[in-house]
């Protein structure tokens, strides 16, 4: 059943301070039951703002967000019953132990003492935290704290879980553990919306994803579809010593059938091509006259899709 869990319509947000900052310029998204949806974009693209509005912690300038048909602006208290949030930073209650963080979260959502206790113990086992149940959040590593946050966010069995940059600041090992924890949620039927600026994360975790930049959705679809339809290309970044005659060289390269675009950059030349067969030797030869210093090849990936869409690197 393709039930819509999250519906975001024409969402805009302008932060009014000394100078107004437009964070969102009309976002439209729909999340289906049980899918893991990725929101991919560089810092400042509007990912966190979108999540903040959807989780009732910020008010939109215009547009609506509905969770299972409930408008989050009109009925925030009701909507909060349906959502779980893992914020970007560690917001665990420092005055409570790991167990108590889970236990009281359950109590906030109306669980009885016995029910809250059994649910907390169950989560501690599920997330392999039983040994740390009496630790305080200050004593946990970043990875462990993140796992407690995920456990806490799903404790009241929300319909949809929001994860804001879940792997920011985690070491590779903790990141893998976090990924498998999120994968594990699939079996519980929870719909997940996660934001990230890591390509690999978006690629391997999400069923569908939206690439956003400057508060707008640039592309939407499964990672495979995005790579295929946007013709994820290979990108050649050439660093050259001399800038003379580069325009002519770029124009000549553009005439080739396998080259999608060729542009002069401050360092040299950026060539985007559908396939790299046969192009590489020609490129090296052509660039030799301009003093080739370095050549960087980026294989087709979401990263190249993003560069093609925005002309910028994701981590710029």
């Amino acid at each position: 059943m393709n039930l819509l869990i999250v519906e975001i319509e024409h969402l805009t947000k302008v932060y009014l301070s000394k100078q107004s900052v437009v964070a969102l310029e009309g976002i439209d998204l729909e999340l289906k039951q049980g899918e893991i949806f990725g929101l991919l974009g560089p810092n400042g693209a509007g990912k966190t703002t979108t999540i903040s509005i959807a989780t009732t912690r910020a008010l939109p300038t215009s547009g609506t967000v509905r969770i299972k048909g409930i408008d989050v602006v009109k009925h925030p208290a009701h909507a909060r019953r349906l959502i779980g949030v893992v914020p970007q930073f560690n917001t665990l209650d420092r005055s409570l132990t790991v167990f108590e963080n889970l236990y009281f979260h359950c109590r906030y959502f109306g669980f009885s003492h016995g029910h809250a206790k059994s649910r907390s113990l169950e989560l501690l086992t599920q997330f392999m935290l039983s040994e740390r149940k009496d630790s305080f959040p200050q004593q946990l590593s970043g990875g462990l704290a993140q796992r407690v946050q995920i456990a806490r966010a799903i404790a009241h069995r929300p319909t949809v879980l929001f994860l804001d940059e879940p792997s920011a600041g985690l070491d590779p090992q903790s990141r893998m553990a976090m990924w498998s924890a999120v994968e594990g949620l699939r079996s519980e039927g929870i719909t997940v919306l996660l934001t990230t600026h890591y390509m690999e994360e978006a690629d391997s975790l999400s069923d569908r994803l939206a690439i956003i930049d400057d508060g707008r959705v640039l592309a939407l679809g499964s990672p495979e579809k995005l790579k295929a339809t946007l013709g994820a290309h290979t990108i050649f970044d050439l660093k050259l010593r001399s800038q003379d005659g580069l325009e002519a060289l770029a124009a000549k390269l553009r005439e080739r059938r396998d080259v999608t675009s060729a542009d002069v950059t401050p360092d040299g030349l950026r060539v985007i091509a559908a396939s790299s067969d046969g192009l590489l030797p020609d490129l090296v030869q052509a660039a030799a006259g301009h003093g080739l210093r370095d050549l960087q090849i980026t294989e087709p990936s979401l990263e190249t899709v993003f560069i093609q869409l925005t002309g910028r690197d994701l981590r710029e």
Binding site: Y15, S52, T56, R57, A77, N90, T91, L96, G110
Partner: protein, 310 residues
Amino acid sequence: MNNLRLKIGKFLKEILRMFLQDAEALTRYADHRISGNPASIALEAGIFFKAFGGLFLRDLRVLTREFLPFILRVGMQPLLFLFVFTFILPRMGNGNPMTVGGTGVDFGTILLPGLMAVAIMFSGIAGVALPLSNEFGITREIDDRVMCPVPLWAVALEKVCFSAMQSMIAALLVIPMARYIPAVPVRADVHHWFLFALVLVLASLLAGSLGLVIGSIVNPKQIGLVFSIIVVPITFLGCVYYPWSWLDKIRWLKYGVLFNPIVYISEGLRAAVTPSIEHMPWWAILAALFFFTAALGRWGLKGFLGRVLS
């Protein structure tokens, strides 16, 4: 003078407008609830009280973990005050230096309600302002509670109620201290239990509301400064160490302090605990306590919402 009158008029009008807005919002809220079916209203009310209870239990758990420091924090000041002014000093002087204002009234009796007022004030602020300013700080610990399935005002209300409970404990602690520490025991003389309970509850809610204002408006880094430039002055000038009526000779101060909510806490407790000492009429005290609780609560809530909603 006219200018000042205009300003005060404008201020009062602004407050009235705020309350009218609230009343309207509340009726709209109620309308919306009533139009739903009874079963779903009962369900929502159930969720509300359970969540509110959960928040309260959380605070209670944290308090029990720090119960001894809590008792020390609220008890130390009145303990030392009573010890120095009603135990040490009376033994030093010749005659009786601690009869103030030449009325022959024992200073301890004047001090008892005043110290209760100070205890209420300080624990109200320590119970809301300090934890809130921490939780709003870098850690944003408040986030999980803000995500409770209750309206945001309920989260703020819970903070105020919990601190009111702490304030009441702190105030009641002063009574046995005043009985056993001073050279001449001071006895609480409560004739009207209802008035006493009402004043105690209202005063505690007022202190919590003031804590909410400070905690949600003041930058965490400046919380210490706020203590020295706001909390300490309003406490010292809050008719804590003398009844308000004794200010007759300093008329500008007598009317100036009417803007200080602590005055009504001290006077209210004076009316309830030591009625033999001159005090303001009870109706004026209750009206002022109501007014300041509502105004500060409203202001604090506005600040709270501003902090959690962007």
